[in-house]
């Protein structure tokens, strides 16, 4: 593999690893803030214990999200110097703004939240976790506006041998960036909802702290249903934007080779890229693809053959990532609705099979989140900035393959190791359950 291929692989490894932790941070911060607010409002100690228990899992996860984020900012310059030089005038701004507006708030107030239980008032303590939640979501906005600009560059001119910003507001209001923000954000909420459901289900199966975890289950199920509906809604809108702005990506997502008016979708498709056709097309739903693309049944969807081969994204990974993501999304809708229904009937504990299923469902949103990024980023190829700069022209000139092999191996080993430790600690503290704050437990702790 050459420097471009290795650098792409390294960016994939480091950003996908980073994104194992980000979605849970996005969603769980809001849930913890909600729980603590309930505590402040009602004085019910159990809500405080909930905020502390889920907050501890939040923090174990948060730590890795923070430290792996620095890599991404540095990597643009380290591996993608030509890219950074060419688009830095417009792409650097959202990154710097993200740090100034969001990272400072997040990092300062997470300190207040962790260490300030006895140092600030109850209300202010709850406010600080709301600030953390707001700041993480705000940081997602800026980084996704930056990514949205790579997908659909706006507000720039090519001048002085680079892309220069001429309209800041165009970048900030780029529908593509805002859509990515919404879709990614709600996907994170779904993940957090499923995380809370899965961990609660594990304890409910064992009849641990039943009241505590029934309440957690309720919050998780409502959050998950609302979020998955919003994910599907924003996903639908994403498809429209992709079809309009990135027709080659859209064609690859559905493995559509020939341009079609009123194009349909096959339930089962197996693409044959060598012969530029599909080996299997089974169970066709007519006109659905045109409808998804343009919200009209006789829209014309461009096929892959309209684009020169060097301008097409890799079909197989784009196609399967998209397909599996959508499938998992629908599966999660199904699971979340059942969870919410059982919760409202108050019969959650009577369904051990469903509870066990929820424990095993924890990885589903993680996989769907990663696949979503694969669609977005592989589908954008061969461009790093769609239609403006090719990925192959974006790499640093001063690094060689050996350097990147070493760094890639280093990241893989270090991240693999830290990932295992993080999962180990998350599992340990998730299984441990809430702290024993009953009078007996506190006395025991003091004697120790």
């Amino acid at each position: 593999m050459d420097v471009v291929g290795l650098s792409r692989l390294q960016f994939a490894v480091t950003s996908m690893f980073h994104f194992i932790f980000v979605p849970l941070t996005l969603g769980l911060s809001i849930l913890v803030a909600f729980m603590e607010t309930r505590y402040v409002r009602t004085g019910d100690e159990q809500y405080k214990e909930m905020a502390r228990f889920w907050g501890r899992l939040f923090l174990i996860n948060f730590a890795l999200g923070v430290v792996t984020g620095i890599t991404l900012e540095f990597q643009f310059g380290m591996n993608w110097a030509e890219y950074s030089r060419y688009v830095g005038d417009i792409f650097g701004a959202p990154l710097a703004i993200e740090a100034t507006l969001a990272f400072f708030l997040e990092s300062v107030f997470i300190g207040v939240w962790i260490f300030g239980w006895d140092k600030v008032s109850k209300t202010f303590h709850a406010v600080s976790i709301w600030i953390v939640a707001l700041a993480t979501n705000l940081s997602a906005l800026w980084i996704l506006l930056a990514n949205g600009w790579m997908q659909k560059p706006v507000g720039y001119v090519l001048r002085n041998g680079r892309a220069e910003m001429v309209d800041f507001m165009a970048m900030v209001t780029n529908p593509y960036g805002l859509m990515k923000f919404a879709h990614t954000l709600f996907s994170g909420y779904v993940l957090a909802g499923f995380f809370v459901l899965g961990v609660s289900a594990w304890h409910l199966l064992r009849k641990n702290h039943t009241d505590f975890f029934t309440r957690s289950f309720r919050i998780g199920s409502i959050f998950a249903v609302a979020a998955i509906l919003l994910v599907l809604l924003t996903g639908d809108y994403s498809a429209v934007l992709v079809a309009k702005n990135q027709p080659a990506k859209f064609a690859a997502m559905e493995a559509l080779w020939e341009t079609e008016k009123g194009a349909g979708i096959n339930i089962l498709t197996i693409p044959d890229t060598d012969n530029e056709r599909n080996r299997v097309e089974w169970l066709r739903i007519p006109k659905l693809l045109s409808y998804l693309a343009f919200h009209t049944t006789d829209g014309v969807v461009l096929g892959l053959k309209e684009f020169p081969k060097e301008d097409r994204p890799p079909v197989i990974p784009t196609f399967f990532s998209f397909r599996i993501m959508v499938g998992l999304g629908l599966l999660m809708l199904f699971i979340a609705v059942i969870a919410a229904a059982k919760n409202f009937r108050g019969t959650v504990e009577k369904h051990p099979f469903f509870l066990r299923l929820l424990v095993y469902a924890i990885p589903i949103p993680y996989i769907a989140n990663q696949l979503g990024w694969l669609v977005a980023e592989i589908g954008r190829q061969p461009w790093i900035v769609y239609g403006v700069l090719r990925t192959s022209d974006a790499v640093s000139k001063s690094i060689d393959a050996t350097q990147v092999v070493i760094s890639l191996a280093g990241f893989t080993l270090l991240y693999g190791f830290l990932g295992i430790l993080d999962i180990f600690l998350l599992t340990k503290y998730a299984r441990k359950g809430p702290e024993d704050r009953s009078p007996v437990g506190v006395t025991l702790a003091k004697e120790v």
């Binding site: 923070v66 643009f76 310059g77 300190g111």
Partner: protein, 342 residues
């Protein structure tokens, strides 16, 4: 004032504040195995900076982001030329952050011992790497129209290593004074002793740096042109001396404040000499990256100036406020009584 100059100053402020704030976390991390004698004391040491270390590190992320936004060509070339050094820096910063969070999550001697070693190594490495990197930036990198002609080992030249040693020693003194100010009793005494022990070395190396910079770099050009600027390095030396005077009197907070000023002034000394370069070329000044030939467009600099002037004061205000919330000294009983403490 031209926006490029404004951004050079802001860029310098970001780095100076970063080194002032993370400097004591790095220093305390390096020393935590020496200052603390048992698990309880080690936890006290970590908890002195636990509420603030993450916020301190964000100054680095902001400095990186500001380099990208304001001087994209410098960002691109600096980060790709220093690839291996930055890689080591990233690994160290990643391990450091995780160590704080993970160390006390398991009651096992081996687990904690491993993280303690990790904290010391991952605190020492960034200190020396930043020093080596800035030493080489002051000196200039071997670059011309066809790119960079150095390797990672080229960076380990005598002047680079001298600057690395300067950073390590300044941070060690800085961290020790922070620990002395934030703890009581024996830990505090040991930390203060440590600060006094490292201080003479920092003085010698600082003097060596000021002398060696004359043949090794062009930092003195600006000072020779405008001798009034010499007040900056002069003040740096004054504050460095004040550290020892206050430390001798046992005035730890004053000594720590002097140490803060020293670090800011050392950064200011270097960057004042560097201007208008961001990375000089050691081959021919024609190829140097300056604030003028590597900056963003006026439009982008304008937007970023507005953002910085509105939000940096807000950031500084709430940071000071939060530092005040956590101004009390950290004690063992407090750490042991809080199951969320590190």
């Amino acid at each position: 004032m031209e926006l490029q100059i404004t951004w050079f100053i802001l860029w310098g402020i970001l780095w100076a504040v970063y080194f002032m704030l993370d400097g004591f976390v790095l220093g305390a991390g390096m020393l935590h195995g020496i200052v603390a004698k048992n698990d309880g004391e080690r936890r006290v040491v970590i908890n002195t900076f636990a509420p603030v270390w993450d916020g301190n590190e964000v100054w680095l992320i902001t400095a990186g982001g500001a380099t990208f936004a304001a001087f994209p060509t410098t960002y691109a070339l600096m980060f790709s030329y220093l690839y291996t050094a930055l890689l080591l820096l990233l690994f160290a910063l990643i391990v450091r952050g995780v160590s704080f969070e993970f160390r006390s999550k398991l009651e096992s001697e081996r687990w904690k011992g491993a993280w303690d070693t990790a904290i010391q190594v991952s605190s020492f490495l960034p200190a020396i790497l930043f020093g080596v990197a800035f030493g080489n930036i002051f000196k200039g990198l071997p670059m011309d129209a066809s790119g960079y002609h150095g390797t990672f080992f080229y960076l380990l030249n005598p002047f680079g290593l001298l600057t690395g040693a300067l950073f390590v020693l300044l941070f060690a003194v800085h961290g020790a004074l922070y620990l002395a100010a934030k703890t009581n009793g024996e830990i505090s005494d040991r930390a203060l002793t440590m600060a006094k022990r490292f201080w003479p070395f920092s003085l010698v190396v600082a003097a060596g740096f000021l002398v060696a910079a004359y043949p090794a770099t062009r930092l003195y050009d600006n000072y020779l042109r405008l001798p009034a600027l010499l007040v900056i390095p002069l003040l740096a030396v004054v504050f460095l001396l004040l550290i020892r005077i206050f430390a001798a009197k046992g005035k730890v907070i004053a000594a720590f404040t002097a140490s803060c000023a020293t670090i800011v002034l050392v950064v200011a000394t270097g960057l004042t000499g560097l201007f208008p370069n961001l990375i000089p070329s050691s081959i021919d000044p024609v190829y140097s990256l300056t604030v003028f030939n590597s900056s963003s467009s006026q439009y982008t600099l304008g937007i970023m100036t507005v953002v910085a002037l509105i939000f940096l004061p807000i950031v500084i205000a709430y940071k000071i406020w939060v530092y005040r919330i956590f101004r009390a000294k950290v004690t063992i009983s407090e750490v042991l009584g809080d199951e969320q403490a590190y």
